[in-house]
């Protein structure tokens, strides 16, 4: 039963991935302008354009282009970026991606490490004392934070911490060899922004889910058994709230990888989202496709993991009759 559930989720993920690849291919090919012409820029002539089109395989019918592209992607070959292509060199996208992925993962990782304990703690505290001042403070502040645009949060934080207080640098400027405290300090502003935005959602979801579980009969039973509040939350409620919480964490992680354009833009952080925006601006189709694939794969993998966690946390599936 467990394996069946896992396999069916895996199947669904793979199908979704395939649909995603088709959508991305169609979507990016909608971008205006002939790629070849864009690469050649204002110097394009009919002959050179045709030659480049042939070189890039753009003279083939779209479905063939798709098949070739999918094959290459599956083999880990994400194509050649327009960057430097004119000189006959080109840059393999993998090379461009590598440092960006590293940066994105580093930021996401640091944010996650901070966000998860904080949000779980605050969410649980709020759920443990519903209706109290603490709960209302948490509820109201998270509600407010998810209601304001993230660029405002980011800008206010910069003004306070970087410009007025001067504690942290206003933008991320990485030398590449930072470690430990220096690294944290350098990344402080984006981390702070993302922590605030992401944790608000997780706190709310944790609180809501735990409260929802708290209204179930087995929690009432635990109360009537004289189980202390702390144990009720941590042992009885949390276990059953794992599914939704893991899910919202997964969604937030996916957002951290691909959805933080505004934040990366404001802090000039060389992450993946910013790379994709730059790719769109340059009409660098292979680059846009590669980034989009990475985001979608991340999303699908994270959701798959969350589903796994949900399935595994369900004793019915873990311990069949």
């Amino acid at each position: 039963m467990l394996w069946r559930a896992l396999l069916s989720r895996l199947g669904i993920s793979l199908v979704t991935l395939w649909v995603v690849s088709v959508l991305i291919f169609i979507g990016t090919n909608l971008l205006p302008g002939d790629v070849a012409q864009i690469i050649l820029g204002q110097m394009a002539t009919p002959e050179s354009t045709a030659a480049l089109r042939a070189k890039l395989g753009l003279d083939k019918p779209p479905y063939l282009q798709y098949v070739v592209w999918l094959q290459n992607v599956a083999m880990g070959d994400l194509g050649i970026s327009k960057a430097g292509l004119g000189a006959g060199l080109g840059t393999p996208i993998v090379e461009i991606l590598e440092p960006r992925i590293f940066n994105t993962l580093r930021l996401t990782g640091l944010v996650t490490v901070i966000v998860i304990p904080i949000s779980l703690f605050l969410g649980l505290i709020a759920a443990m004392h519903p209706g109290t001042r603490l709960d209302r403070a948490v509820t109201f502040s998270t509600l407010s934070l998810i209601s304001v645009p993230d660029f405002l949060v980011a800008t206010m934080l910069v003004l306070i911490f970087a410009v007025f207080l001067g504690w942290f640098p206003a933008i991320v400027y990485l030398r590449g060899d930072e470690t430990g405290w220096v690294l944290i300090k350098t990344l402080a502003m984006p981390i702070l922004t993302l922590v605030i935005v992401a944790s608000s959602q997780i706190i709310r979801m944790t609180r809501a889910t735990v409260l929802n579980v708290m209204s179930s009969p087995y929690i009432e039973m635990a109360i009537l058994k004289g189980v202390p509040r702390k144990r009720i939350i941590l042992r009885h409620a949390l276990f059953n709230a794992v599914g939704p919480i893991v899910n919202v964490i997964a969604l937030n992680l996916a957002w951290l990888v691909g959805g933080v354009v505004v934040v990366e833009q404001i802090f000039s952080y060389p992450g993946l989202a910013k790379l994709m925006v730059e790719g769109v601006l340059m009409r660098d189709l292979p680059l846009v496709q590669a980034c989009a694939m990475i985001f979608c794969v991340t999303y699908i993998v994270l959701i798959f993991i969350a589903d796994m966690a949900t399935i595994l946390s369900n004793p019915r599936l873990r311990h069949p009759k």
Binding site: P32, S144, S147, L152, N212, S215, G259, V262, C291, I303
Partner: protein
């Protein structure tokens, strides 16, 4: 002799009437925060209706320098941009020397209007397809669900970015894109609500009666999922406002000189370092609107037992 008075035993019926099944459902009563939310919401609704009429200036008007001349001063060309609130400009002026208040009043129609239409579109699409998936064949459900999953997996800002880069920035496209992007989450909710209602006894009763699909959808299912969907509409509306603001922030919003709140924040950000209120005011407008909608939704979903919250991520 119990739940109805029958002729034989009217006397005892009075004494031992059938006890009510459950206390009558509590009517939704808003908390103080919820009430504040409603007041703010009504305020913005009025602004949408009559904002441009009560605005002191037109949204495109760049105020003349003469307006700002302080009597007695020999400064002939006083600054007009990023002016603090005064009698001339109640909420200050923006980076070009336009009246912030007027632009917020005009912008309410743009921002709320676009978001509202986009959310409505998302609902039309999402509910239609979601219910189709819920009541339709397994194969249809599979196709729609996978397509939906795929769309969901693409970061929405990226999706919008590529499409706007591809097709140009126009209001109809903005609405269509936002509608499609948010239809994905509406789809999931409508589908799960639809599936829930679909297996309920009263739908089964209608099926046993021989009712057609259309009747079942419109008379049995829709009325029963209307309330949770309406609540969710509020939340979705907030996200759409934030999303469109983010797009505006990235420069993909409406055409100048039309004002929308998101672009207003962006274009006036340079004033922030001078302590200008120009970027703060539209941000506050967004925040008051979104927070108030969220407060109302929060209140309502507190009464529906957090079911909603569970679906939000489902």
């Amino acid at each position: 002799m119990s739940d109805t008075p029958t002729p034989q035993n009217t006397n005892s019926a009075i004494q031992f009437d059938e006890l009510p099944d459950a206390p009558p459902k509590r009517k939704i009563k808003l908390s103080l925060l919820g009430k504040i939310g409603v007041v703010v919401l009504i305020f913005w609704a009025i602004v949408v209706a009559i904002g441009p009429m009560i605005a002191p200036y037109h949204e495109a008007d760049i105020l003349d320098e003469e307006l700002f001349i302080v009597p007695g001063s020999d400064e002939m060309y006083p600054d007009t941009d990023f002016q603090p609130p005064s009698k001339i400009v109640l909420l200050g002026s923006d980076y070009l020397g336009r009246d912030t208040l007027s632009r917020i009043l005009f912008g309410a129609r743009t921002t709320i209007g676009i978001s509202f239409i986009a959310t409505t579109l998302a609902y039309l699409l999402g509910v239609l397809l979601g219910i189709a998936a819920a009541v339709g064949s397994k194969r249809l459900d599979m196709i729609l669900s996978r397509l939906n999953d795929a769309l969901l997996s693409i970061p929405s800002i990226m999706f919008a970015l590529v499409m706007i880069a591809a097709l140009g920035s126009t209001i109809p496209l903005l609405i269509l894109l936002t509608g499609i992007i948010y239809a994905t989450s509406v789809f999931r909710i409508a589908r799960s609500l639809g599936q829930e209602v679909m297996v309920s006894d009263f739908v089964e009763a209608a099926r046993v009666r021989g009712e057609g699909l259309w009747w079942i959808i419109t008379r049995e299912i829709l009325p029963n999922i209307a309330m949770p969907l309406a609540t969710d509409f509020g939340l979705r509306f907030v996200w759409v406002i934030l999303f469109i603001s983010a797009l505006s922030f990235l420069g993909l919003g409406v055409q100048p000189p039309m004002s929308d709140w998101g672009s207003m924040v962006k274009e006036n950000l340079p004033g922030l370092i001078y302590g200008s209120v120009a970027p703060i005011m539209p941000a506050l407008a967004i925040a008051t609107l979104t927070i108030s909608v969220n407060m109302i939704v929060d209140d309502i979903s507190a009464h529906t037992g957090g079911k909603l919250a569970k679906r939000m991520i489902a």
